[in-house]
Symmetry: C2
């Protein structure tokens, strides 16, 4: 099935531009995730193997859980290199809904041509060449087809990075974006030698003891409302201090209220370190568009995963959020 | 790749026997899991579609998390039917290491011919026809090839059951038994219309509130030993009562010590309801064969997942287990 290459015309235009240029800058989004990192590293390694000078750049460093990925020598952050030291012929944005998503790395994109590779519905369609495929489970899926068309050999290193892009953006083949095409691409990557259990161990089985202590503390606050359709959990600054867990560890806590049978909307309230605001994470199972709820609170995101930052104390922020939720006509009686 | 059918000769012999017989009994193992249930339901539905009278039988009922699977009208338990009411021409054991694994359902297997479909290294090789493939991620993988060879159409219902067999026995494509072949089979099943996110929601995102309360209580006992290579967690009878969780809920608790970075061996001590014994679950990451440790304690299992029942109070059982573990030369200094 992966013999059929989607978006062949656009991908051929991209291949043409990449072939013509020697210096290629690849930009990840701020706080890069597995898809941005995996896509970026795979593209950078493939271009290097074709004799190009490829630099992968991000505003923020890669989280430690991705340290096992190959190709890190091609990645740098804005704190390690000056804009004047980069002179790209073309810039490729991976997994960025708009140029601003590259954050401080944007000022390095001084090329005339910008290529936009993404799969988010909110992508602005920027760039001289824009390929935004809402059916792609991950931007890594588009990079996979790009490399096939470019004739860049997908070796084990490149395949591992693309597999990580797929597996992280589909939550381990569990989210609604997990399509047959994504599964066929994954199967092809595994045929290149990717070890799914080793990758899963690196991504999902390398928790810190303190992250489990944070979970223990947070579970004490788990509550269910609205006939079991809404569940909420708190992460306070005191919990972070008591457990020694990191802010990154707090990101996964919202998965627990989300995992309860019957829960459609899950909330996680995270107190800011200066205790002047609360970061709200919203998740939904299948029906409610939580990006709209986040919008009412000054935030945004995806239909199934969104967020907002709410000024005030923990109690004030929770009261405001529950006030908004109470006013929505999304809760059924049974 | 799934065009190549492995074990073609043995599978053709099985197809021949199944074609010749009208009444076919399929036996699951005691306390059936997703592989035994998914394999059994898929085989029963396929045989029914070919005009056979197929009964899927188990000693114990299916856990509620599998209620969403189709084909349940073909399944029954020993409490609902007498041995005399079953007169099979052939009996197929799915996912059973030996005939005794069928438990009380074994007395229904009054056919001359037994077919043994399994993937466990400890399978005794019983049956007139025995197909034990250690490279199969799940018995469901063997049923998939059997149905292809038999010319039984793999419709969406059958594909869903086989996908559940694969996804549960590989821990969501995370365990070491996740092979390229397993991934290609999964991709083919998804092409039949299986919805991976719906299946994952049913299997992994339908926890009870009380199971999370049990987890919270158990996390208070989480401890790490041996330079971080060993982690242990307790589930006491009091925790089950306090949380209202089921014994089934306790089964997944061992995944938490197992998930800590650097931990090679994980233990979960579960107090028996009559408080006269302790059920020990053992897991390992990649090196230690925990079935050997379980063997020293009178139990058994797989290299990466094993168990034992230890007589005595909680304190006595833990002292005995740590005594055995202290004597092993598997711990490194760094």
């Amino acid at each position: 099935m992966t013999g059929e290459i989607p978006h062949r015309d656009t991908l051929e235009r991209i291949v043409g531009v990449l072939r013509k240029n020697k210096d290629i800058l690849i930009l990840e989004h701020e706080k890069p995730d597995g898809d941005s990192i995996g896509s970026g590293l795979a593209l950078a390694m493939a271009l290097s193997s074709l004799g190009k000078k490829a630099i992968l750049l991000s505003q923020d460093p890669h989280p430690a859980m991705y340290d096992f990925l190959p190709g890190r020598h091609l990645h740098t952050t804005v704190s390690c290199i000056e804009p004047e030291d980069v002179d790209p012929g073309v810039t490729v944005f991976v997994d960025c809904t708009g140029p601003d998503r590259a954050g401080k790395a944007l000022s390095y994109a001084r090329s005339e041509t910008w290529i936009n590779l993404d799969h988010h519905v909110s992508n602005s369609g920027f760039g001289q060449i824009s390929l935004v495929d809402l059916d792609a489970a991950a931007t890594g899926e588009l990079v996979f087809f790009l490399l096939k068309l470019m004739g860049a050999g997908i070796n084990l290193d490149i395949a591992t990075c693309l597999y990580v892009a797929l597996v992280t953006d589909t939550g381990g083949f569990r989210y609604q974006n997990t399509t047959p095409r994504c599964f066929h691409v994954a199967a092809e990557l595994i045929d290149k030698g990717v070890n799914p259990s080793q990758v899963a161990d690196q991504l999902y089985e390398a928790r810190s003891f303190s992250s489990l202590m944070l979970l223990k503390n947070a579970l004490h606050t788990l509550e269910v409302y609205k006939n079991g359709q809404l569940a909420s959990i708190d992460v306070t600054r005191a919990m972070l201090e008591d457990s020694g867990a990191s802010l990154e560890d707090a990101d996964s806590v919202v998965n627990y209220p989300r995992s309860i049978a019957g829960v459609e909307v899950a909330l996680c309230f995270k107190e800011s370190l200066d205790q002047t605001a609360v970061h709200l994470s919203l998740r939904s199972r299948s029906k409610v568009d939580v990006s709209k709820i986040a919008g009412l609170l000054g935030g945004g995101g995806h239909p199934r995963a969104a967020g907002a930052v709410i000024e005030g104390t923990f109690e004030q922020a929770k009261a405001r959020v529950f006030g908004v939720l109470d006013g929505l006509e999304i809760w059924t009686d049974s």
